[in-house]
Each structure stands twice: as C-alpha cells, then as structure tokens.
Symmetry: C2
Subunit: 431 residues, 2 copies
C-alpha cells in the first residue's frame, strides 16, 4: 500500500471534518500507517511530529504502551454496558479521582465535548426551572468556541463556524473577552459584563467561558483576574458559571485545570479531549451538590435530568482515562511541562525579530505566534502547514496564528525540530 | 469488593443518565464486574441476561473475543489521530463497506448519535443555503426521538425528554406519525404530510424520520409505505430526507437497514449504536454526491462544512466497526435473526391471553408488549424491571411498554428464560 493508493480510496468516499474537500485536489491527504509517541508514520516512509497533539487531545504519545495495556485488560472484563441502573469499577474510580482533583461533588458523563457543553447548558437552565425560574438566555464571551452541535454552537462566537447557521440557532448573549493578557484588559471587560448582568442577569441561566485561552478563537489569551471577577458577579446575579476545560484541562495551561489559576470554584466543569489521553471519545460534566439537589426528588415530581447517550460511561474509555490519570500521578508531568514550556518560550525569542511576527504568547504547553500583513486570500496557514510537513512537523495554523500544542512527552530535541521547522516556514513566507 | 460497597461509592459522586437519582434510595445500582456474551455478572455472584443490548447497542455479545482481538491489534498501530489532512486504513475500509451496503456516496463521521443527527440537520440546512435558499425549518414525526443535544432534541417529540427545554430550543415542525401498523394508517398520515409540505415546503430544509420503529417513542411501529410516500413528497418539494437508523440499523428490524423495507434512497442516513457492535462511541452520516457537490468549491467561496469533533474518525472505534461488519459477512446473521424473531413471536402468543396486555408488536429483533389499565403513578415499568432482575433478566420498559431488543447472539434457551421472566412479571403485576 502507498500513500497515493489509500488517499485515492479515502477521497472517493470520505468527507473530512472542518475541510474544504476541493483543497485536496492539490494538497495530499496523508494516510497514517502507524503512530508511536509524538510521531505519525505514513505509507511512504515519512514521519511527522504531531505538534498539535491531534487536535489537542493526545497527552502521553500515540499507542502508549501503558494505556494500551489498560485498555486490553478492560476489554476482557467489560467493554461497555448500559449506565442506567448499573455501574462499573472504572467509572467509580475515575469519578472519585476527578472529584478529588477538582473538589467538585458530582459527575455526569457523555461522549464528546459538544455533548458535555450541551449537558451543562441544559442542566443549568433546568436547575433554575426546577426552582421555579425560567432563565432562557446563556451568556458567553466574544471569540469563544464551545463545540459544533447547535446548542454548543449557539454559545460560541467564532464567525467562521457559526454565521452560516444563524437561522437555526437560539439567541444567546455575548460580552467582550478581555482584549489582551493584561489585568487592566481583564478589568475593562468586567465592566461590560457587569452592565449586562445588571440589565439582564435574571434572564440568564449560566455564563460559559473557556478559562485563560480561547483555543479555537485563534489562541487568544487573557488574565485570570477576569475569571475571578466574572465568577463573583455571576454569583451576585444567580447566574451559574460553566468552565469549558475541554481544550485547556489536564495540565495544558500549566496547572491541572486552567480555572485553578483564578482561584475560583465553578458550578460546572466540562472535560473531554485529554481526559482519555487522546485515545477515545469520553466527556464529563462535573458539578456541585447544590445543582444535584435541585433535581433530586420523588420521581413523580418529574424534575429528573433525563439526558442520556447510549455510550455514556463507556468502560473502555474510562479505562483509558484512569490510565491517563495514573501517568499524571506517577510521573511529575506538570513540573516536567514547566521545563518544556520555559524552553519553548526561550526558543521562540528569535521569532520576535521576524518582520511578519506581530505577537508571541504562551500559556503552559500552548504557544502561539501571530503573523501580520497577510490577506486572508493568501491562506498562509496552509502554506506553513505544507512547508512544515516537508520538514517532518505537523502543525495546523488557525488563520494567521501559528501555534504549538505538543504531546507532553515531546523531548527537547523534538521541540528544537518543531521550532526549527516553524522558523523556516515563517521566515520564508511570501506575502 | 461487594455490590453494596461499589454502589455506595457510585452514589457518592455519580449522576446517572436518564435517572431520578432518588429512586436509588430504594432500588440498588448494580455494579458489573464482568460481561460476557449476553450476560452481565455482578460482584455478588448474580448474572443477568442483557435483554435490551445495553440500550440497543450490543449486537454480538459483551467482551466478544473477535472484536477484542481487532481492537488490540489496532491499538498497536494507531489508536487515534486527527482526521483533517490525515486518514487511516480502518476508516477507508469501513467507509467503503458502509457506502457499498447502502449505495450512498459519501461519509461524514462524528462520535455519538445526537451529533450525527446534528451533522445531518446542519448539512441539510447548509446545502440549501449554499444553493441560495434559506429554509429555516426541519420537519419530523410526532412521537419521534433523535437525541439529546439541543438541535437533535428540537426535532424530537417525546414530551418527557423535550418539554422542559422548550424555551431554549429552535422551533421545528411535526406531522403525525401513522397511528398504527396498517397501510391505511400510513396513507392517512401521508395526507397531513402533503398538506404541510404544500403550505410550508419551501421553508423546510429536511424531514427526519426513524424508519419503521420509533424506539424511544414507546416502540411505536408503522408501515413502510409511509416512508416511500414521504420520500416521494419530500422530493417534490425539494426537502431532503434524513433516515435516523441509529437505533434500527444493522439488522435490528430484519433487514440490514430499516429504510430498505420501503425501497427508498434517502439523502442522509445517520448511523451509530450497533455500528461498533456496542463497543465504542462512533457515528456517521452517509450522504449523496449531490449534497457533497453543493459544498465543493474554492476555499475562498466559504461554502465548506466546517463541523468537527476532536475524536471524529477514531481509529480504535473504526476497528471495532470493521470487526462488527466482518461478523455480519462471515455469519449468516440476518437469516439466523429471522429464526429467532419468529421464535420470539411464537413465544409471545400466550401473552395475548393476559388481561393487562393491550398490544403485541414486533419488527425483526424488536418485540414490544403494551400494557393497559395502569396509572403512571404505579410505575409498572420499574416494577417489571425489578421482578425480572430477580429472575436474572435485565429489561427496562418505556412507560407501560415492555420490550425485548436482545443481542443477536442470544440463543433459544436464553430467549425462553427472558420470555419466562417477562410472563411472570407481567402476569403477577399489581394494579
């Protein structure tokens, strides 16, 4: 089998996500035969460093021997079973660990990130309704992204994904995200939030935010002060506070969860992506006893939360998640990441001299380089992606923002290779 | 470890799907230590026949040795990788097989059933928009169920799941599902559909139906003639036709897909649940070249379908799906199921004599017994569930409808045990 053969078979029938398929008339789809650690290996003998962790999910490398073993063991016990009326050990253990890591009380499971966001939104709305209040609006930040199902999309604000579907989405409210990473920027944005809450607070069920980094929103970063002030104001107006940690959770921003950096206790935490180490779809919404109690009553009062997905609580995915948390416990992951983050930051220094670089920002294991002076029609992201692939590095810029979000097991030499490829791609870019 | 210990740990932190958690003050949650074939084994030495295939997903038994082996092999190659710009052999093969089984042209992947429905809805709306038409409504059947995310929920019509969220959903249109299983019932419902299409056809992007059986809608069944007439009318009004085969696909109704029994070619087919044999969350929307071509253009025309989930195209789940299709190919599954269906039908005959049985219906490997004369407050479904568990059979009635939807590997003796437990539970039921 060759790349060419499998690519042709792929293109005959597959419609890839987030892709203009016509692009593949000129840009090859790369079939991957094997993946190991940070590397993806194709059928023509090339290998690529997966420098964005396969869409931000992979933490400890592809085909990780420990996670593989734990999944194999689980398959011999229970691969999956219905999660109403039954339970299993993997999910009990996983839930205890997640509650202990976050000081949250209760866990409601789903299978993908969008569904976790929908669970949190529905639960927040339903919480108020069970207490006799109808609050039909959700509040989110400008430039935010929370997923693709119509409810999750409605609280997002990245025009590229959302605008087309305007007529088939509910109306939601947005307040400005802090314009920059400064504390002043945060406090300025808080003023507008306060104004909106004053005016419409009683109509709002919940506010949802991506803490510290809006990943799909071009890796926009903001100061933790915004989160602590926003949480305080939301409490004042009875608005529940949802932190969408789907992209930033599990150590990505330097702490286990990004919201920790603001010292807040949210009402809901949505987790997915890194939850299974990048192996399998699984998501969870963590919440408080206060929320749980609003649904807890005699059946015939009909206040239960009747949401379900068939694969909720999938035992195989929970085994991958427990294996991932084992690695966090055994190895000093966050401390090692701090060294790697510092190293990446230092290695990005020379980029500041490049005339087309307008901003460099970093939070933990996310580093972003913003380029200026290019018209959208130049599609420089794609140019950089193609150049870097030739140097054995896979990155996938968002518009004019080139970013790194590598698996945590990347070593210093591999970081050098990634940054070398980026420097070369960016410095030779044609206007 | 005992049932009691694990149950207590579960209840301390887990919020189960589709459950009033207060019920578990009196009804135990059963922790499952091991699952094999049709059996679930708990920590106290009891075993239960999984007579509803763990929420309609399991086809060839739990911890199936062949599917286990195929997953183990896949983990050593590629567990998961980003599905934009890359591909892998499992998904290429799976897509070829699905397109060949359905005569559809293109496949777009997601991870759960709700997300597949949302993909189909968004794609249908976007198809018209790319061709210059805004059609903001979706049409579905009364008593339908299409999932839990807010878009999927909006096209559903089971009050129990939907009513609470009325204020945070878009408006959709419903037409009556055929009132019974007769051809006359179907043709009567077609008249109302025709009236609505005449009046509002140009505002409607797509019609979505569960072909032949509305599973969550209390196993309501209708004649295939409705589907062929509905498809014909939708074509006339330019309304795309989505068949939601999530619950009924993969042989459940006697043919590989339920829509085949109406001899139609849909514009979209949504698949999940049985797709991986009950192992892992994976879903797919199959569609036509005509739909695909409406999105296929130069990138800068901005007509691409930019939907994505991080775990789209998950290689491990695709390996489970291919293993499932291998079993369909090697073993004469549909023919064997026909024998089992007939046997179930015969064994249900004595139920007709019971005074509380008002209807018995069956389509392939779905059999439903409707009970009458009970007030909702009696919660007879729960009573039957508890009685059957004591006899080693797990079923989970929907309101007053008791149904069987067993894994295909169930044998005649096990069918006897299930039906015996049902008869006993139903015939001794207190009013």
């Amino acid at each position: 089998m060759t790349n060419q053969e499998l690519m042709q078979r792929d293109l005959a029938h597959i419609w890839h996500p987030c892709t203009q398929m016509k692009d593949h008339e000129t840009i090859p789809i790369i079939p991957i035969k094997r993946a190991k650690g940070v590397y993806l290996y194709d059928y023509d003998g090339n290998r690529y460093i997966d420098a964005i962790s396969s869409w931000w999910v992979n933490l400890f490398g592809h085909s990780n021997p420990y996670i593989n073993r734990k999944i194999r063991e689980q398959l011999e016990q229970v691969e999956h079973l219905i999660f109403a009326g039954f339970t299993h050990e993997q999910i009990v253990v996983l839930t205890e660990r997640l509650c202990s890591l976050t000081s949250m009380d209760k866990a409601f499971y789903a299978d993908n990130g969008s569904s976790a966001v929908e669970v949190a939104l529905k639960m927040a709305f339903h919480y108020h309704k069970n207490r006799g209040e109808v609050r039909p609006y959700f509040l989110s930040l400008t430039n935010s992204y929370h997923g693709e199902t119509l409810g999750a999309l409605a609280v997002g604000d990245v025009e590229l994904y959302k605008e087309t579907y305007r007529e088939i989405m509910i109306e939601t409210l947005q307040v400005p995200v802090p314009k920059d990473r400064s504390e002043e920027g945060a406090l300025e944005a808080v003023q507008e939030l306060e104004r909106v809450l004053e005016e419409r607070g009683e109509e709002i069920s919940a506010m949802i935010v991506e803490p510290l980094v809006q990943c799909a929103g071009y890796m926009h970063m903001y100061h933790p002060r915004y989160l602590s002030e926003a949480k305080r104001l939301c409490e004042e107006y009875g608005v529940l506070f949802i932190v969408d940690e789907i992209a930033v959770g599990f150590g990505r921003t330097g702490t286990m969860f990004a919201y920790e950096q603001a010292g807040i206790k949210p009402d809901f935490i949505c987790l997915s992506k890194g939850l299974t180490g990048g192996y399998l779809p699984l998501s969870v919404v963590l919440t408080t006893d206060e929320v749980y109690r609003a649904f807890y009553c005699d059946y015939l009062e009909f206040k239960a939360f009747l949401h379900s997905h068939s694969y909720t609580g999938n035992a195989t995915a929970c085994a991958a998640a427990n294996a991932t948390l084992d690695i966090f416990e055994r190895e000093n992951v966050l401390e090692e990441n701090r060294k790697k983050s510092r190293y990446i930051w230092e290695r990005l220094e020379p980029f500041r001299e490049l005339p087309n670089v307008t901003d460099i920002r970093q939070r933990g294991m996310i580093a972003a380089i913003e380029l200026g002076g290019y018209d959208i029609s130049k599609r420089i992201g794609l140019q950089i992606n193609q150049k870097a692939l030739k140097m054995g590095v896979f990155i996938r810029p968002l518009g004019n923002v080139v970013y790194l979000m590598p698996p945590y097991i990347i070593n210093f030499e591999e970081i050098d290779q990634v940054i070398g490829a980026l420097f070369d791609s960016i410095s030779t870019l044609k206007a």
